[in-house]
Symmetry: C2
Subunit: 325 residues, 2 copies
């Protein structure tokens, strides 16, 4: 078994093989890996590097992979490094739909400045989210300039991903009317920058109309606490237009958020979110996996059915019993 020092040194030396092993370690559900994983995470927390953490969200078909390929390539030519991760809490139905098609990231896959890590094995949202979050911590300690987190903009994953990143990028298609219906309003509200992707030259007119419509819709949303009104940009990932404007917009976002202190404030708030979130999940986990609870619960359910006890009383009794033993 490898030591924590092995992982930590490897990450400090920017050894990508060790990084991959470290991610596998924190993804492990084996009890015996836990202590080392915790030590690695703790050490990584104290390494004082900061990446730009950017979520890239959008409905299936919005062209996320192709966009990441184009934007990633732009960053690489400017000598930046980047990690691409995925969060995919959805059921096995969409397994492989996310980051699965690496052929759409052909320019990135074999590039040394880019590290791509597909989604961890499917599990409940909490599980996937923890691992993605902890993978971000490892990648940040490794020293990537940018970390992209790709996510499908239709599920519950958005709140989780919003609480891991500094900037939310939402990809829409030029047929905005239809598109907006597929995207929950709450996701529009979370976006810092909205990209009308597939704004190819031949789509110029509808792409600009779409951008105007989205700008109008976004304008109606209430101003965010961070004093930033979401930018709406036309991008063609295929023709590679609008990429530089996007990069400039991202830069000005980070400068503004850094200056205002929002970046730090936000990361602290995110830590707090994960603290509270994990408390809930852990309490629930310990409770449901307690064998006394399981037995007593079954017998209480029987009594509830027979009207021998009120459901609320039964629940209180069960919790008290759990806490006293």
């Amino acid at each position: 078994m490898l030591t924590a020092d092995y992982y930590i040194n490897g990450i400090l030396q920017q050894d990508r093989i060790v990084l991959s092993k470290a991610i596998t370690l924190i993804e492990s559900t084996r009890k015996e890996d836990e202590a080392v994983a915790n030590d690695v995470l703790k050490a990584c927390l104290q390494i004082n590097k900061q990446s730009k953490r950017i979520a890239i969200t959008g409905a299936p078909g919005a062209g996320k992979s192709t966009f990441i390929n184009a934007f990633g390539q732009h960053l690489i030519t400017q000598n930046f490094t980047l990690a691409v991760l995925a969060i995919d809490p959805s059921s096995s139905a969409s397994k492989g739909s996310i980051l699965g098609d690496k052929t759409r990231m052909e320019d990135l896959v074999s590039n040394k400045q880019c590290y791509i890590r597909p989604s961890a094995s499917l599990s409940h949202l909490g599980g996937v989210a923890y691992r993605t979050r902890e993978t971000i911590l490892l990648c940040e300690a490794f020293g990537f300039d940018y970390i992209f987190i790709e996510t499908v903009g239709v599920g519950q994953s958005e709140t989780a991903v919003k609480n891991m990143v500094d900037l939310m990028l939402l990809l829409l298609l030029p047929n905005a009317g239809d598109e907006l219906q597929g995207i929950k309003r709450g996701i529009m509200e979370m976006a810092d920058i909205i990209i009308i992707n597939k704004s190819e030259k031949e789509n110029d007119v509808i792409a600009k109309i779409a951008a105007a419509q989205v700008k109008h819709a976004v304008h109606l949303l209430s101003a965010s606490e961070k004093d930033w009104s979401p930018a709406v940009l036309n991008v063609s990932s295929i023709e590679k237009t609008g990429i530089e404007e996007l990069h400039e917009k991202i830069n000005s976002y980070f400068i503004k958020m850094h200056t205002s202190g929002f970046l730090t404030h936000n990361r602290n708030a995110q830590d707090y979110y994960w603290f509270e979130e994990t408390i809930q999940q852990e309490l629930q986990y310990q409770f449901s996996n307690n064998s006394n609870v399981q037995q007593l619960k079954a017998s209480l359910q029987e009594k509830i059915k027979n009207k021998e006890i009120n459901a609320v009383q039964a629940a209180r009794f069960l919790v008290t019993n759990f806490l006293e033993n």
Copy 2:
């Protein structure tokens, strides 16, 4: 202090003053009232009477109180008895908006066949919901033919109320287009009967168009597990038209649900819901009110801020510590 027997006997003898006192007892947050309240609830559970539990929901302005007055009066003339309760989890802003205006129920207030109980003191949703649910149990043991639960159809209260009743009645206004936007889709899906209220004679045309539109919208919703497609009816609570048709529709609903076994199945499922729901809330309550937890939590938050510990690790440590002490 009054004994459990005092309350139980009073309820069995249909003494409305004792019923009111019993509701006040279960609404009490005083520790010393708990044992008696539990005994009363337990006894009431075993009294084998069954009311028709009906939720009446709709946006503010839909005319819920006036409707309850008209429908209640109809039931009274047919020699039925009814209790009218309210669930209002919203903030103090709307305090008094629900059931506050008893003048709209002038025909019911002084009638001996009708018992009206305004909302309990405002508290978190869970608290109000428990009390409303337990108030239903008391009223059912008392022997009312009908129990109405009035709720504002815009908040989180709908899932709670759905899990207390046999039938969900949704009130809409004739200007369905606007109205539908104010009502969440999920609430439309929960409704068993939809009433276009304020279908006065002078509104006849738009009221019928509205009913047709709502019927169409409802038709698009997927069929429910109970094999019932929601009925849409025009009612004027002022001119008292459509009330008899509504009563017939409610009767046929209950006959159908009784025959299919859904009524019993549903009540068992509801008990299970409250069991699970209370477990969550109780675990959370015991955890947050533990003084060790409060101290340790504060110090862990400090450590998280200083990057001395990862938020997820800190949460696990805190939960473990709570469970071991």
